[in-house]
C-alpha cells in the first residue's frame, strides 16, 4: 500500500489554481475509483473531483476556501494501485477458461444444471479473484487509442457505446463524453472572482450605432458577425500573456446566458463556420439554464457576447472576462429615424459597445473590428 496524492486537477487551459469548495468524504473513508470526493471551484465553474483509484482517504490537506495551485495535493489516498510490488509475488495469471466450443459440440447439453460456460458475457469462474478492482475490459473489436481506453476504464465507460471519429473508425480521446459539470452552487463566487480579475485589465469601450438587417434571432446574428469579424482581425482574437500578445487558433464566443441562478457563459467554437448555428445556440442556452453544460462547453472562449436588448437596454458596457481581449455588449434593436437622401427615413438600428483589452489592441483596432461587424451584419 502506498500513499498517493489527490491533486488539484487542471480542468481548463487557463486554470492555474482552484478553490476547495467542500469535501464529500472524511478522513478514513473508503473511496472507489471515479467516486466524487470533493468539489473545487475553477476559474470558470465548480467541479467535482473524483478519486483516481480505490483506497482510503488518509489525509485531507486542503480545507474549504483554500486556494491550491494546479497539481498540488489536496489530500492523500492510501491505495494499492500503482504499487510497483503489487502482484510481483503472485502466481502466474490463471489461463482463461476455455471458451465453450458450441459449434464443435453437436450433442445437446444435458438438461441438468445449466453449465456456467454456456452463459454469455464475462469469462466464467475467475478462480479466487482476490483483486476487488473491477477493470472494465474494452470489448474486443473496438478500436481506440490507448489514452481513450485508459480514460474510459477510469470512468467506467463502455467503449462500445462510443462513436469513433478518428481515422479507421478509431475512438479518439476527444470522442469520450466530456466530464459532466453540475454547477450546483450559485455561480456568484465564480463571477466575483473573474470580474475582480477583470478590474486589473486596462480596458476601454468603443460604441457604434449599427444598421441591423430585418430578422428575429439577434443573438445568433451578432454571434456570427462577431466571430466572423474576429476571424478577419486575428490581432484582437488574442490574449495578453507573458508580456506579449498571443493569438488564438480558433474563435470561441462565450455567450452570456441569464440562467436564473446567475450568469453562465458557455462557449461556441467557431460559430461563424456553422450553418446550424441558431439550433446550436438554442440548445446551449436551454442546457445552460438546465445546469447541463459540460466543462468543455465552458472552455475555449476568446471573446464574450452579451445581449441585453431583450431587456430594453439601449446600450451598455460589458466587462472583459480575462484572458479574453474583447467583449461585445449588444443593446436593443429598434427602428430609428435616420436621415436619408432628401429627407428622413426609418432604419433598424442597434448600439453596441465593444470592450477591448488595451494591452492587446487600440481604439482604431476596435473601430476596425466594429466596421467588420457592421459589414458582416448587412452582408
Amino acid at each position: 500500500m502506498q500513499e498517493a496524492p489527490l491533486v488539484m486537477p487542471k480542468m481548463s487551459m487557463t486554470m492555474t489554481e482552484g478553490t476547495l469548495v467542500t469535501w464529500h468524504k472524511s478522513e478514513g473513508d473508503e473511496v472507489r475509483a471515479g467516486e466524487v470526493v470533493c468539489e473545487v471551484a475553477t476559474d470558470k465553474v465548480d467541479m467535482e473531483v473524483e478519486a483516481p483509484a480505490d483506497g482510503t482517504l488518509a489525509r485531507i490537506v486542503a480545507q474549504p476556501d483554500d486556494v491550491v495551485a494546479v497539481g498540488e495535493p489536496i489530500a492523500y489516498l492510501t491505495t494499492a494501485a500503482e504499487d510497483l510490488l503489487a502482484g510481483l509475488f503472485d502466481g502466474p495469471a490463471p489461463e482463461p477458461a476455455p471458451q465453450p466450443e458450441r459449434e464443435r459440440e453437436p450433442e445437446p447439453v444435458p438438461a441438468a444444471p445449466a453449465p456456467v460456460a454456456a452463459q454469455p458475457g464475462p469469462a466464467p469462474a475467475a478462480p479466487a479473484a482476490a483483486e476487488p478492482e473491477p477493470v472494465p475490459a474494452a470489448p474486443a473489436g473496438v478500436a481506440a487509442v490507448p489514452a481513450a481506453r485508459r480514460a474510459a476504464a477510469e470512468r467506467g465507460i463502455d467503449l462500445a457505446t462510443i462513436t469513433p471519429t478518428g481515422p479507421a473508425a478509431t475512438i479518439r480521446l476527444a470522442d469520450l463524453p466530456p466530464l459532466e459539470v453540475k454547477p450546483r452552487r450559485s455561480p456568484r463566487a465564480v463571477i466575483a472572482r473573474r470580474m475582480s480579475a477583470s478590474a486589473q485589465v486596462p480596458q476601454f469601450v468603443v460604441y457604434r450605432d449599427l444598421e441591423v438587417p430585418a430578422g428575429g434571432d439577434w443573438t445568433t446574428v451578432f454571434l456570427r458577425a462577431l466571430a466572423g469579424a474576429l476571424r478577419r482581425h486575428p490581432e484582437l482574437n488574442a490574449e495578453w500573456a507573458d508580456g506579449d500578445v498571443r493569438r488564438h487558433g480558433h474563435v470561441g464566443v462565450a455567450l452570456a446566458v441569464d440562467t436564473g441562478r446567475g450568469l453562465l457563459a458557455p462557449v461556441l467554437r467557431d460559430p461563424d463556420l456553422d450553418d446550424g448555428l441558431a439550433g446550436r445556440v438554442r440548445d446551449l442556452v436551454r442546457r445552460a439554464r438546465a445546469g447541463k453544460l459540460t466543462l468543455a462547453e465552458m472552455s475555449g472562449g476568446t471573446t464574450t457576447l452579451s445581449n441585453l436588448g431583450g431587456f430594453a437596454v439601449d446600450a451598455f458596457h460589458a466587462l472583459l472576462s480575462p484572458p479574453q481581449a474583447t467583449a461585445l455588449a449588444v443593446g436593443r434593436v429598434q427602428e430609428k429615424v435616420v436621415p436619408v437622401p432628401g429627407g428622413i427615413g426609418l432604419s433598424l438600428r442597434c448600439t453596441v459597445g465593444l470592450t477591448v483589452d488595451h494591452r492587446v489592441g487600440d481604439g482604431a483596432d476596435a473601430a476596425r473590428l466594429l466596421a467588420s461587424v457592421q459589414e458582416l451584419l448587412t452582408l
Binding site: 481515422p167 480521446l173 480558433h250
Partner: protein
C-alpha cells in the same frame, strides 16, 4: 565552492570538433588522430585544420585509402594502450571497415573476458544535403546502434559536438561519432572548458503540450524550426534530441509522451528498420503506452538511395515544412 559561469564562445560545429580534439590531445598524449587527409589537407571537411602543425605528423597521421586498415590499426593501438581517434571521410565508407568495427572493436572486450578494452573513437561525417549523391550521403546510425559493444553518438549542436566527442575519447569502449555534414558550418555557443558531456543523456530542447518530436542529427534544428512555426498556429511541440543513440536515454522521451500523448519521430535515414523504429518500440513498451492519444508517427527519409539532383535530394529527406505538416496532422486528426 562558488559556481563559476561557464565561459562560452561562438564556434562552428567543425571548430568545436577541432577544439575537442586539440584539448584531448593536449591533456592526454595517448590521444592521436588517423585518417585520410587529416594531416596537411586538414580533413575532407576541414575539421582537423591546422592540428598537424600544432601536434605534428606523429599524432596526426595521414593514412592511405584503406578504411579496413585504418580501423584495424586503431583497434590495435587502442589495445596497446593508445587512444586513437579515426576519421572516416564519409560514414558510407565505414562499410569497408565493418569487420574491424563490428567483429573486432566491438567484441574484443567481451571475447577476452574484460581483460582488454578498445578505447577508440571513430568519427565520420554523415547525412545528405551537400549534393554528394548516394554513396556519400547515407545515414547509417542504425547499423552501429544494432551492434552490442558499440556506443553511437549524434551531436546536433556545436556545443554537443565538442563535449560529446570529449566524452567519446574518455570512454574506455569504442564509440562511433556521426557528425552531420550540413552542421559543420553552423555556429553556436561552445564551452571553453574541456568538460565532457555524459554519454546517454538526452537533451530536451523545447517543451510543449501537444506533441513530442524526437529528432536526431540535422533533424533536431529542423524540428526546432518546425516547432516555432507550429507555435504560431497554436500547436506546442516538445523537441527531444537523444544525442546518444546508444546508450539511449529513453526516460525524458517517455516522460514527455506521457504528458503530450503524441509522438512524432523524425530521422533523416530511411524509415525501414531505422533507429526511430527503436524509439517507437521503446515508447510502446513504456508506461507512456496508456497515455498515447494517437499512433506513434515516424517521419523519415524515403527508402531510396539519396539522389544527386538537389531537388530530389531535398525531397528524399524530411525538411522543416514536412515536420510542420506531419505534426499538425497528428494533432488535428487525434
Amino acid at each position: 565552492m562558488t559556481a563559476v559561469a561557464e565561459q562560452t564562445r561562438t564556434l562552428t560545429y567543425a571548430e568545436a570538433v577541432r577544439e575537442a580534439l586539440a584539448q584531448a590531445m593536449t591533456a592526454d598524449e595517448r590521444v592521436f588522430l588517423l585518417g585520410e587527409d587529416v594531416g596537411t589537407y586538414g580533413g575532407a571537411f576541414g575539421v582537423t585544420g591546422d592540428l598537424v602543425h600544432r601536434f605534428g605528423e606523429e599524432r596526426i597521421r595521414d593514412t592511405p585509402i584503406s578504411e579496413l586498415g585504418i580501423v584495424g590499426a586503431a583497434v590495435g593501438a587502442a589495445l596497446a594502450g593508445m587512444r586513437p581517434v579515426v576519421e572516416i571521410q564519409f560514414s558510407d565508407f565505414t562499410a569497408q571497415a565493418m569487420d574491424q568495427i563490428v567483429n573486432q572493436a566491438a567484441k574484443i572486450h567481451f571475447m577476452l573476458g574484460g581483460a582488454a578494452t578498445v578505447p577508440m573513437v571513430l568519427r565520420a561525417p554523415t547525412g545528405s544535403g551537400t549534393g554528394a549523391a548516394a554513396q556519400h550521403s547515407q545515414s547509417l546510425e542504425a547499423w552501429f546502434a544494432h551492434v552490442p559493444g558499440l556506443k553511437v553518438v549524434m551531436p546536433a549542436t556545436p556545443a554537443d559536438a565538442k563535449t560529446l566527442l570529449l566524452a567519446a575519447i574518455e570512454d574506455p569502449n569504442p564509440v562511433i561519432v556521426l557528425e552531420h555534414k550540413l552542421l559543420y558550418k553552423q555556429s553556436g555557443p561552445v564551452p571553453e572548458a574541456a568538460t565532457p558531456a555524459r554519454l546517454g543523456e538526452a537533451a530536451v530542447r523545447r517543451t510543449g503540450a501537444d506533441l513530442t518530436i524526437v529528432a536526431t542529427g540535422v533533424m533536431v534544428s529542423r524540428a526546432l524550426e518546425a516547432a516555432e512555426q507550429l507555435a504560431t498556429d497554436g500547436v506546442e511541440a516538445s523537441v527531444i534530441d537523444p544525442r546518444t543513440l546508444k546508450p539511449l536515454d529513453a526516460q525524458p522521451i517517455v516522460d514527455d509522451v506521457i504528458r503530450t500523448g503524441r509522438a512524432l519521430l523524425v530521422q533523416e535515414a530511411p524509415k525501414t528498420a531505422g533507429f526511430m523504429a527503436e524509439i517507437a518500440a521503446t515508447i510502446g513498451e513504456s508506461p507512456a503506452f496508456g497515455h498515447l492519444r494517437a499512433p506513434i508517427a515516424r517521419l523519415c527519409g524515403l527508402d531510396v538511395p539519396i539522389p544527386y539532383a538537389p531537388q530530389l535530394e531535398r525531397a528524399a529527406v524530411p525538411q522543416a515544412g514536412d515536420i510542420v505538416r506531419a505534426a499538425a496532422d497528428l494533432v488535428r486528426r487525434w
